[in-house]
Subunit: 326 residues, 2 copies
DNA sequence: CTGAAAGCGCTTACAG
DNA sequence: CTGAAAGCGCTTACAG
């Protein structure tokens, strides 16, 4: 058990009042150099650290940002949530906001509303990622009383900020480049209809081709693998564009097994680590997750402090590797 | 701004005292069914959630577990911290402990001691991972006043619990099996001398071979790649055992470029996702991180509640793939 | 520049 | 079974 040192102890040792100590620790201007020194010394001696809970409770201005990650462990091998965590955390470390991490899933969402979470923790704003349109929190965000920045999620609600790449443009560009490179028929293997990113990527794809063909593989390598293994008319497909690298990997596996004797170009999406390690290395759309998450944090602070709400788009890059020369 | 609903409001609406409301929310036994009902109704109507900070401040029994992850974003592509996060979080979700996540690094460690962190957040116990022997927190843990379980880190301090695989035994087994499979000379590519896991793996390796040869590659793919590319006497090496998969991958790349005309068996460590995707697929030692992190959480609660301290070992598995038939 | 005091939203002996 | 009251460790008007 740590023996609790409180502000009173410090005040006592320093020979000043409790309020003086508080002012010193909060860097108020109206404190004499002498008092400041005495307080620091006393704090030093006692190894004092102000208690967070008490601070939160008594202070008007709470400065706590929550990062909410949905379905954190569905796809082992994809480190995106970790990158977001790191990015947001790093950014917030440089500010005087507290950082709180919260992992959720559709089940937990049913038990506790976003608002409940926020009010029990005194949250002043949040960054949220991984929500599907079927999630309770998605519904709740449509009208939410706190500043929010969503990653990879565009809401009709104009009061919710967002940061992501331009998914539609990226998908359109990939499709166009595939076609230019000679692919007459590009098959689009999408994730799920429920994910906004899927919807946008599909939109981009459809805008770029005259004969769209779309199938859905739940963002799962396994699913994509099976679907392509059993895909009836592969002869009429010159290229496959997958809405995630993981699905692209499943597709590559399936094609290898089917032993198709023409070359089918494959493009993925995300540029996960695997993309540059598999054979053939994967052409894909890179998202700079680090950048996205830092921008999200930055935008949130802007929203909290100045009420500025941004729908923010971050550049993407098409990384050309062996699987498709586009 | 969320309008704050407090316990007073609930008490008022329910027509009972504040203490009655508190008792209901804390599931005390001595409450009449009637009061309970009135309180629930009022809470329902007002959409009341108890405030965490106030609870923490006033309650004797704090129940907050911190997960401290060190150097979270050094190795992109390795999702281990994420798995730990998920594992601990999942386990704690089933208990009535709060979960707090904290990312640190050697720089932050210098600014704020572990004890400071714990007392400012009212932490009652912690799980810590990724520490190196050169980290300030490593020093601090040698004599720490709170329950701690370390992952992948054995401290001389018998009051600190730990969970990991038996690194030494695993390394010994791999080495022995390589030798049995015909490798006369096994080169061990270790991580850093500062990591306890490196020390243990090296110990295991040395215990199993008569002519040990060890080099250090900082757990870096790049380093390992370069070291093997320039390794002078590769003719006398039949097998290479790397202390991490990432290094093994670097080694594979280097060997491919050097165009060695004998087959050198490669074994890695960790079984990261990449291991089963690269060519050749990698023989390696699997750690069940999910399991390790859940056991760590479980052990910590045991320690907090019953003072039981465990040095806990979890089974490992040797996964044989193409890179080494052992 | 400084201190006394009220208050933040809870919990928990205590008395009844 | 219930309520009044003290207290948790801070912050912040307020008065001087």
């Amino acid at each position: 058990m740590i023996k609790k040192v409180t502000i009173k102890d410090v005040a006592h040792i320093a020979g000043v009042s409790v309020s003086a100590v508080s002012r010193v620790f909060n860097n108020y201007g109206d404190i004499s150099e002498e008092t400041r020194k005495k307080v620091y010394q006393a704090a030093q001696i006692l190894d004092y650290t102000p208690n967070n809970a008490a601070r939160q409770l008594s202070s008007k201005k709470k400065r706590i940002i929550a990062l909410i990650l949905n379905e954190i462990n569905v796809t082992p091998g994809v480190a995106m949530p970790l990158e977001i965590l790191g990015g947001v955390n790093d950014y917030l470390d440089k500010t005087d906001y507290e950082f709180v991490f919260y992992a959720t899933n559709s089940n937990k969402q049913k038990q506790k509303s976003l608002k409940q979470f926020c009010s029990e923790r005194d949250i002043s704003g949040l960054i949220i990622q991984g929500l599907r349109v079927t999630d309770p929190y998605y519904e709740e965000l449509k009208n939410f009383p706190l500043p929010v920045v969503a990653i990879d999620l565009l809401l009709q609600n104009e009061k919710v900020g967002s940061v992501s790449i331009d998914n539609q443009a990226a998908a359109a560009e990939v499709t166009t480049r595939l076609i230019k490179a000679g692919a007459q028929n590009v098959l689009f293997v999408n994730g799920t209809k429920e994910a906004i990113v899927s919807q946008l990527r599909e939109k981009g794809y459809r805008s770029a081709t005259r004969n769209p063909k779309v199938i859905y593989a739940e963002f799962s390598e396994e699913f994509a693998y099976k679907m392509i293994l059993n895909y009836p008319s592969l002869e009429s497909v010159d290229a496959i564009f997958a809405a995630s690298d993981l699905m692209a990997i499943g597709i590559i596996k399936a094609l290898r097994e089917r032993n198709i004797n023409k070359k089918i170009a494959i493009v993925g999406f995300d540029d996960i680590t695997l993309a540059s390690y598999i054979t053939p290395t994967l052409t894909t759309v890179r998202q700079d997750i680090k950048k996205i998450s830092q921008e999200a944090a930055k935008d949130l602070l802007l929203q909290i402090e100045h009420g500025e709400i941004k729908k923010h788009t971050v550049p993407y890059a098409i990384i050309v590797r062996e699987s498709a020369d586009i």
